[in-house]
């Protein structure tokens, strides 16, 4: 998987190429049990690789939720599947209208599944996030924390509890290529490691462990390794089962509401906050 800026670039290009052709209906006309069954089959091939067979997320966002913030209406969901989302890795899909509607119908059933109550205590989880877990050393939550890893402020909107639990236990599994770890030797002979911000044929831009930004021509580097692994430790032996439940309960509750209006992301209008 390529770096985030590259995938973003590709998705942006894909998005801008296509004039939007949307169906002339407001509601999904294909919602019979048969449609849902066919949609499930299509979903298994096209969507499950990123969103998980049960829609509980993975590389892709959590779909097993009653409200899909960027796809609240049927037409919005159709549009997301057909044309992708320009600020994410969600690609466009060339399928027939019926196939897209059938996938949509199946996706809607994912949110009806019983989201079994989480046993953890979110308040205690919040304390663990800041304290024992050390999460804020690398992740930012509501403006507080480090920047080596992705922001967690809206992680509960993007990821399911199952995904978050798996990530805490096996952080190296299913890496997207975002936040790739870079190790290099600078032209001055200094060893440097950090997170890849961008890369092209001739140059690389890196954020070091203390947040400093560096840009290099690759030809000047005697040693450059880009590793598709994460700095995040496994919490399997660091937290008790209860503590893990608490952190997951806290993360699931982080839904980024306080940021929606200021971030100005495309798609924000679908959240009904403006």
């Amino acid at each position: 998987m390529s770096a985030l800026p590259i995938s973003l670039w590709a998705v942006l290009l894909l998005f801008q190429q296509q004039p939007l052709e949307l169906p002339d209906v407001a509601a999904n006309p294909y919602t019979s049990n048969n449609d849902i069954a066919l949609g499930k089959k299509l979903y298994g091939g096209r969507c499950a690789g990123c969103h998980g067979p049960g829609g509980d997320g993975g590389k892709g966002t959590n779909l097993a939720t009653s409200v899909l913030p960027r796809a609240q209406s049927d037409l919005a969901l159709y549009r997301v599947i057909r044309y992708g989302l320009p600020d994410t890795e969600m690609p466009s899909h060339n399928m027939t209208q019926r196939e897209i509607w059938q996938i949509s119908a199946f996706v809607r059933t994912l949110g009806q599944a019983d989201q079994s109550a989480l046993s953890g205590n979110p308040a205690r989880g919040g304390e663990l996030l800041k304290g024992k877990g050390g999460c804020l050393q690398c992740h930012v939550v509501n403006g507080e924390g480090g920047h080596l890893g992705p922001s967690l402020s809206d992680v509960g909107r993007m990821r399911s509890a199952a995904y978050l639990r798996a990530k805490l236990l096996e952080p190296d599994k299913d890496l997207s290529g975002n936040f790739a770890l870079v190790r290099l030797t600078t032209p001055a002979g200094k060893k440097l490691s950090g997170i890849r911000m961008n890369e092209d044929t001739w140059s690389i831009q890196v954020r070091d462990m203390s947040g400093g930004l560096h840009s290099f021509w690759k030809q000047d580097l005697s040693d450059l390794k880009v590793e598709s692994r994460t700095l995040m430790p496994s919490y399997r032996d660091r937290l008790s089962a209860d503590e893990l439940n608490d952190i997951v309960a806290c993360l699931v509750g982080l839904r980024g509401e306080s940021f929606v209006e200021t971030r100005g992301k495309p798609g924000a209008e679908t959240r009904g906050k403006q």
Partner: protein, 524 residues
């Protein structure tokens, strides 16, 4: 004679673009008269002012922004001090070559219910006589006055509501404008047309899918020939000695569901050689019989002469989207050589006739089948380049795979007819490379790695340089003999086109669309 020539070049030429001028384009390297630079499609500029020794001094001379966010895929033509570019979706602009200032603009009003699968794009114009020709996404061919941009005629080529469009740069040969079409994702029936250059009257049409009773129709199950696509959306080549037009054809439709069109599906994914005067098929060669991966053979065929197994042959060479490199005899169509030039997992190899020996279980499925190369292929529509100086063929290669899916294939006129889809392979690091190959053997002489699979073609020059562009916005120059990178410029937008070169005021310039701007570079 020399004096006369010098005089002729010293005054602004108002001469017409004749067939003879295009035929002898190498004798006026300051101009760029046809899409690929010459009829043999070498994309080679004999200009030699910019060299390995001074290319580090190459700087932007001017740039021109287009008024569209669609992909900007044009190859400019330069004729006697004027540059003619197409802008997406179907517009034409004439620019002053020295300053980049527009002289005239043709703006087409388009219907709002166009059918284009992959962007409202245009790859360039053709010139003949006093006219400039452009195909449009609503499937017309338009002739413009070269001095004013005024419309001289505007004729419909096909019905856009059925899924037809024109994005290809036309090819002007003798008294004809040869024109391909697009629409391979809409279940159209493909064709290659030729029009009378003066009047726009259609001279011939060659259907790329044979009709009932014609040889090849039996390679389509039932009525599937009616919706079999085989579009012709990339400009071909022409050989005056054989009087044949060589043109690549696109995928069979629907793209990923082959069950509804059992058979070889002629002439999809083929090269066709047509007699220019009558449009009759002289020979064909199908690269990917019964394609189910959308591997259009809409690449640029390159005409060279070479020695194969001790025998001098007239060749057409073809780096194909299916990851095999082909060498054919261009007089007879005989298959001479074919080897993989990028990672591929779908064929064990080619048999003696050039037919692929398929690996089992590589067709798309409902669950997805991972196959290399990717749906975009090991190369794509963008141009390779051949240098007669180094004798090398330069190809921008894509190294990636795709997950291929099959799906519904119900044809409805004017709607997409794909029968499946694809996605990137999870966890795969895709990459690209510029490769310099011996065009007769396919042997790689040197390569230059690119961070991601490219979407732009190459230009070779008399200064022994190869120019190209990256997805990450760089225009670059490599040493044509060694591949050593010598120069680059960050243009701020992805390369989705081909470079070309011309003279203005006696100075050599390199032009390349980058992002949504045309950049022109010259020595400072």
């Amino acid at each position: 004679m020399k004096l006369v020539l010098a005089f002729a070049f010293a005054i602004p030429l108002l001469a017409q673009v004749t067939y003879e001028r295009i035929l002898k384009s190498s004798s006026e390297p300051g101009n760029w008269l046809t899409y690929s630079g010459n009829y043999a499609a070498h994309r080679f500029s004999p200009l030699d002012q910019i060299t390995a020794g001074n290319v580090h001094r190459l700087k932007p001379a001017w740039s021109f922004q287009v008024n569209s966010l669609q992909k900007f895929e044009t190859t400019p033509l330069v004729i006697d001090g004027v540059m003619y570019i197409s802008e997406p979706p179907s517009n034409v602009t004439a620019l002053d070559v020295l300053t980049g200032r527009p002289l005239w603009r043709y703006r087409r009003t388009l219907p709002d219910d166009l059918r284009v699968c992959c962007g409202q794009v245009n790859r360039g114009v053709a010139a003949l006589g006093d006219l400039i020709y452009v195909g449009t996404v609503d499937a017309h061919l338009v002739a413009l006055n070269a001095k004013t941009g005024a419309v001289i005629w505007d004729i419909p080529v096909a019905a856009y509501k059925s899924g037809y469009s024109v994005t290809v740069a036309p090819l002007a040969v003798k008294d004809k404008i040869v024109l391909g079409m697009a629409g391979g994702e809409y279940g159209v029936r493909g064709f290659l047309d030729a029009y009378d250059a003066k009047t726009g009257k259609r001279a011939w049409r060659f259907w790329t899918i044979p009709g009932p009773g014609e040889p090849g129709n039996e390679t389509w199950k039932g009525d599937s020939w009616k919706t079999g696509s085989a579009a012709t959306w990339v400009t071909g080549a022409y050989d005056p000695e054989t009087n044949l037009v060589y043109w690549g054809t696109g995928n069979p439709g629907p793209d990923w569901n082959g069950d509804v069109r059992e058979g070889d599906n002629l002439y999809s994914d083929s090269i066709i050689a047509l007699d220019l005067d009558a449009g009759k098929l002289k020979w064909h060669f199908q690269f990917t019989p019964h394609d189910v991966h959308d591997w259009d053979a809409t690449e640029v065929p390159i005409l060279i002469d070479g020695e194969v197994r001790g025998q001098k042959r007239k060749l057409v060479v073809f780096p194909n989207r299916n990851a095999f490199y082909y060498v054919l005899d261009r007089v007879t169509g005989e298959f001479l050589l074919g080897n993989p030039y990028a990672k591929q997992t779908w064929a064990k190899g080619l048999d003696d006739s050039g037919r692929p020996i398929r690996v089992p279980n590589t067709s798309p499925t409902h669950q997805g089948t991972p196959v290399w190369p990717a749906v975009a292929g090991a190369t794509n529509w963008y141009s390779p380049a051949f240098s007669p100086l180094t004798g090398l063929l330069y190809v921008a290669v894509r190294e990636a795979g795709s997950m291929y899916f099959t799906g519904d294939a119900d044809y409805k006129e004017g709607e997409q007819f794909n029968g499946g889809g694809f996605r990137n392979l999870a966890g795969e690091q895709e990459w690209g490379e510029v490769r310099a190959m011996n065009p007769v053997t396919g042997e790689v002489k040197w390569s230059h790695k690119l961070f991601t699979p490219p979407w732009a073609g190459l230009l070779s020059t008399g200064g022994n340089l190869v120019f190209g562009g990256t997805n990450e916005g760089q225009v670059f120059a490599l040493d044509a003999a060694t591949g050593k990178p010598l120069w680059r410029f960050q243009a701020g937008g992805a390369a989705r086109s081909n470079p070309m070169s011309y003279l203005a005021g006696g100075k050599q310039f390199i032009a390349m669309p980058m992002g949504n701007s045309l950049y022109v570079f010259g020595l400072d």
